[in-house]
Symmetry: C2
Subunit: 308 residues, 2 copies
């Protein structure tokens, strides 16, 4: 049930209509680890940080069952920094500042102790670095999941196409699926994208839920209607962490179990957006998660008898 | 199980990215009748048409079990006409032309034979006319469902507020729910709108499905992911017709049965958008509808065992 989680560990400064976060810890791998570790331990983390990354954050992750052997610490550089401002719809945002810092020269190295992992979660990162991790693994994992974004479609499409050929599950949002496929219809987009490599496609639609496509099957998972989305940062990574965490814990990569994994991921993401950054992810218990999953069951549950 | 369906019977001229319809028959009550009559007969139609409305369309409706006693025919006026053009997203549209014609002086009259109806579907129409129908009924129906649109919020808000106090179920889309409540969060919007009168609120989200709110309960129904939406005109009316048609046929207005009614309405709407106007609604059989409903069941079905 071993899992490698790859991505950034960083600082974010977030503005929403509700306020400003100040500089807080973020990054795709941070959210992945907090989320997946609800289901599976250890999470073998692969990332890079600078001298300024708080030791207490690393200690908290280790206490949680996250292994940091694969996290490089650059003693003379700063951690990756992103600042952004969300619009009123909480779905779109402007990037205010990006400082690559340690990310600029990052070359991921898979520690010997991570070899043989059955599950690989490639969080949002430069596609060529995601590919480098796959190439370093001596045995191909049973399942490789990749999260990416429009920025890489705009700036590194060749690298992205190369890594898409090597993965099993791709996770993107609806506008990214449209951009990647050149199709407005998500059903048509899914067909085209699955020809690019991934056998499974998860399309995240934010407040509108998520779709899972595989061969001729499709599954629709709702998002929980929330009174307030306080900060959507990290929701996609948290969703991905819950998805692969559940699969790694159950060792079952059937379509049926992927549906459950999507519901678990959606439940965790619904907590993530309740407070700034990963705050909420550090507070929730198994009981909280079970209650939230039950809300999803109740939300979509209906009985229909088709009469003759 | 008697049902009254109120709304327009009209001509539309529709432009989509796929082509132009030319002048075809449309109107909220036309779609309501074609949809509801899959489940319940008769549908007691209440509307107004001009001298130009095709007799074969009226004959087709009558053959289908739609009563036309409440359809006024104005021999010296033309039928209501609407022309519109859909944008590429098929979700937004521009009105190109509106000719009120018979609608301008329309005063609905409920025929004696319609009195005692248990179900009343008030399709999209001037709110004061919707209220007039309610006032004419000697016995209040068991369930009054109202469909409306942003145009009436902009131009006849006082009338709309008055009729909202008299109904049970309101159907609007997500942007209309936000406009009516002044809240971006649909959960908050639902609370505010339910205080305006309706005990139940259905928020239609097009390709993103629909939400049903009642007291502390919420139900999320998906939309079927479609390869192509050819023409969305009438999809909301068709949804409403399927919803009230199922409720009227089963005479069960519990929350659980409303969930089923929403799935049935969604299934019918998914046919409506496949061709221009009501073309598809005239073709489909019970077998087609059952198969489509089964697709909805499969789409959202998942099994989760919450372990201790």
């Amino acid at each position: 049930m071993s899992l490698i989680a790859v991505g950034t560990m960083a600082f974010d400064a977030i503005e929403t209509p509700f306020g400003k976060s100040g500089q807080i810890v973020g990054g795709s791998a941070t959210y992945l680890a907090w989320s997946a570790s609800n289901f599976v331990k250890p999470v073998n983390q692969l990332s890079v940080i600078g001298y300024d990354f708080p030791k207490e954050e690393l200690d908290a992750l280790e206490a949680r069952g996250v292994k940091l052997d694969g996290v490089q610490i650059k003693q003379d550089e700063k951690s990756f920094f992103w600042a952004g401002r969300y619009h009123l719809d909480m779905n779109t945002r402007d990037t205010l500042d990006t400082q690559l810092n340690v990310l600029a020269g990052f070359e991921p190295v898979v520690p010997e102790s991570y070899q043989g992992a059955e599950f690989l979660m490639l969080g949002n990162l430069m596609p060529k670095l995601q590919l480098s991790v796959i190439r370093q693994l001596k045995t191909r994992p049973r399942l490789i999941v990749l999260d990416t974004m429009n920025f890489w479609m705009d700036t590194a499409m060749e690298d992205l196409e190369a890594v898409l050929k090597e993965i099993d599950v791709l996770m993107i949002n609806d506008s990214e699926a449209r951009q990647l496929s050149g199709q407005f219809s998500l059903v048509k987009a899914a067909k085209i994208i699955r020809k690019m490599g991934p056998k499974y496609l998860v399309i995240k639609k934010g407040e509108h839920g998520a779709l899972l496509f595989h061969e001729n099957e499709v599954f629709f998972a709702p998002a929980l209607p929330l009174e307030e989305v306080f900060d959507p940062t990290g929701a996609g990574d948290t969703f991905a962490g819950g998805f692969i965490g559940h699969l790694a814990a159950t060792k079952d990569i059937s379509f049926a179990n992927m549906k459950t994994a999507i519901i678990k991921g959606s439940a965790l993401a619904s907590f993530c957006v309740e407070k700034f950054g990963a705050t909420r992810m550090k507070e929730i218990t198994k009981k909280d998660i079970d209650a939230r999953v039950q809300q999803f069951v109740d939300l979509v549950n209906f009985e229909i008898v088709i009469s003759e």
